[in-house]
């Protein structure tokens, strides 16, 4: 009786260990977040949203993806797509996000900033071959640096150059002083 129970227990442990608990669809990351055209009337946001399938055999199809976009805490809009992309078993998928919006929403009269906090919050729905749906929620926050497109006046450019030159001369002076100090030390 005891041996039977022991065998049963071992069997249960073996089955439990064999179970594929890790089979799931997972959000991985958002790559290549870019803000373009901030000096134009309409700007655009581009990114790649990566998901991974940890399933051994089942492949999935993207049903739809919706992403709420906010920049510097301002609601910009919603990206929505029903492109039927396929996510194969044990692989990754990068869903491209391209969204155009009116520049006036984030850029005020003072001009554009050099960096913006972009928050992407959304849900991707996948369906398997049997039609079973799986939702994957995700949130991504990233500070995106942009090149300031504001025109710099010639005077400011000159000023900047002068400042740079000064700093260079300062470095030269310091180096010369150091060399002198070293020579004096050697002579002593």
């Amino acid at each position: 009786m005891r041996s039977f129970l022991l065998i049963l227990l071992l069997g249960c442990i073996a089955i439990a260990c064999n179970r594929s608990d890790s089979e799931a669809l997972v959000y991985r990351n958002v790559y290549s977040v870019n803000l373009n055209g901030l000096h134009k009337k309409t700007a655009s946001l581009n990114a790649l949203i990566a998901f991974e399938s940890q399933y051994e055999k089942t492949s999935f199809k993207l049903k739809d993806i919706d992403v709420d976009i906010s920049i510097d805490g301002i609601d910009i809009g919603t990206y929505f797509s029903r492109e039927p992309l396929t996510l194969k078993a044990k692989s990754q998928i990068k869903i491209p996000l391209a969204y155009s919006f009116e520049n006036s929403k984030i850029v005020d009269e003072a001009g554009s900033n050099s960096s913006y906090i972009v928050v992407l919050k959304g849900t991707a729905k996948f369906t398997d071959e049997q039609g079973n749906e799986q939702k994957v929620n995700f949130t991504h926050k990233e500070t995106v640096n942009t090149i300031a497109k504001n025109k710099v006046s010639k005077k400011n450019k000159k000023k900047n150059l002068d400042e740079d030159e000064l700093s260079k001369t300062d470095i030269r002076k310091l180096r010369k002083e150091k060399k002198r100090d070293l020579k004096i030390e050697k002579n002593q």
Partner: protein, 157 residues
């Protein structure tokens, strides 16, 4: 006689123009509601704000012509959503429509019936339902009616 000819000419021009517009497989549709907020909820003023997300399936920009959406709170009609501003609707893209329900003052019938609701008094979540449609015009003359029906649970206090 001349006016009759003009009408026929206008209709035929309209038909020719519409034949050039490529119709997508699916009409524009409602995607989801987001960002529900209670701006005010008292006997003097009721203000509910939400954003409806739609998708324009056409290859052309559209224009929002009309919003006709009823807002229900616990199956009681609160009122209609007010059309706020000119919203740009891009081609083949999702677009947000802000929906503001403003009742100032709400009216005795609404306030009485609302305060009788046990859920509201106890601060439990209440059902808020949006039912109606929006009307778009594609390329300036093709009217499209997009239905909307959604409900959410929200605690007002």
């Amino acid at each position: 006689m001349k006016s009759g000819l003009r009408i026929i000419l206008l209709i035929s021009i309209g038909m020719i123009l519409t034949s050039f517009v490529q119709k997508p497989v699916q009409d524009p549709y409602f995607v989801k509601m987001k960002g529900f907020k209670v701006l005010a909820f008292n006997t003097q003023r009721i203000e509910l704000f939400s954003t409806a997300v739609f998708y324009n399936t056409y290859k052309y920009k559209a224009k929002l012509v009309e919003i006709d959406i009823d807002v229900y709170l616990e199956n009681r009609l609160l009122g209609k959503v007010v059309h706020q501003e000119n919203i740009p609707i891009p081609k083949l893209s999702a677009f947000d429509i802000p929906l503001l329900l403003k009742l100032e003052p709400p009216g005795p019938a609404i306030t009485n019936s609302l305060w009788q609701s046990a859920k509201l008094i106890t601060g439990k979540k209440v059902k808020i339902r949006y039912v109606g449609f929006i009307k778009l015009k594609i390329v300036g003359f093709i009217p499209i009616k997009v239905p909307i029906e959604d409900e959410l649970m929200y605690s007002l206090y």
